[in-house]
Amino acid sequence: MPDWKEEVRRRLSRLNLEPAHEAEIVEELAQHLDDVYERSLKAGATEAEAKQAAIRELAGTELMQREMRRSQKAAKEPLVAGGGRTNVLADFLHDLRYALRMQRKNPGFTIIAVVALALGIGANTAIFSVVNTILLQPLPYKDPEQLVMVWEENAKQGYPTDTPTAANYIDWRDQNQLFEGMAAIDVASFNLTGSGEPERLDGRRVSATLFPLLGVDPQFGRVFTAAEDQPGAGHVVLLSYGLWQRRFGGDAGIVGKTLTLNGASYTVVGVMPPRFQFRRQMMKFGSRLLLLKKRLPTATAIILQFWGDSSPA
């Protein structure tokens, strides 16, 4: 039997149809020519006559080419009714429907894509939150640009920004002619006992000069006084707003009451505002607050902090 596919392909060659599309048309038309050829043979025609009959089927190929071109063009046009090149909405809806169909068809791929997107968005949000807090938002203190953090240089031991000793802090403070004031802070933990369940609390030992430097006032009560920084003065404590709410139920009469911390008695002198934070802002890059991390022998003032919410930081 003659190879009709080649015959048909030759006639379609000028159209530059997409290979898959062309292959289907060639197959379909060649089958038809096979049928015509066989029918002619059955009707008693010679092979040559049958071949001629089949070839005649392709007469008027111009019409076929014209129609195929239209068909090809139509295949490239938007399928949405009324969709033209300028119909952006129709194009968008078409794309959307196509995307949904593809997602339904490949649930595995869809899940991977959604998870990847979710992780990406989550990571971006987390990073932005940190950057926003640390870099973009100003420190919530009075004149934050005036605050500097002072370190001791100890590169020999591998600590280019080492924490100064308490004695050094006292020397700096007494000889200071550069800064308006200096303050010291030390990280400490306390066991709260005596009222309800015992609890481990994170806190800071700070010098009385810290709050005037930060320009932060307590929500109520007062901050530490210079007299309370002196050796032998009684233990006093400031509570964070979160701790006051959580542990003491927002007791309005908390000021003046005593707490047992690490087995010693501390008098509550005030409660800090809800938004007051210290440690997180101190992490701000290039942060500029004088800080001493050695415990001062004279430091008797303490601030407990549970920043932002009721859970310990």
Partner: protein, 117 residues
């Protein structure tokens, strides 16, 4: 009527009715192209005939309009063939074309007096 004019009229009539013929033939069951071409030739007793170069462009055009839908079907012991079936849209078009054709033929008949002959 001179022979050439008659040929032209034939050609135009064939063109005008081609869509209706194809839609009618796939109305009840899906058919492949060769089957459709054969049926047109047989049922018109040889008066109407579409060759490959004229039949398939028509099929593709109807398919492009969404009136018929082609699908490759494989049957045991046979080559796979492309069968065309009428779509819901095609069914509506067929009904409308049938009605128009009927009205057209009746109008022509009334004018030419064939009806009363």
């Amino acid at each position: 009527m001179p022979y050439k004019l008659s040929q032209m009229l034939d050609r135009e009539l064939k063109k005008g009715s081609a869509e209706l013929l194809i839609l009618s033939l796939v109305e009840d069951q899906p058919r492949h192209g060769y089957d459709i071409g054969n049926l047109i030739e047989q049922r018109s007793r040889g008066r109407l005939r579409f060759n490959v170069a004229s039949l398939y462009p028509l099929l593709y055009r109807l398919e492009r309009r969404g009136w018929i839908q082609g699908r490759w079907v494989e049957k045991a012991g046979q080559r796979r063939r492309r069968y065309y079936r009428l779509t819901a849209e095609g069914r509506k078009v067929l009904a409308a074309q049938r009605h128009s054709w009927q009205e057209f033929v009746e109008a022509i008949n009334r004018i030419t007096g064939i009806e009363h002959a």
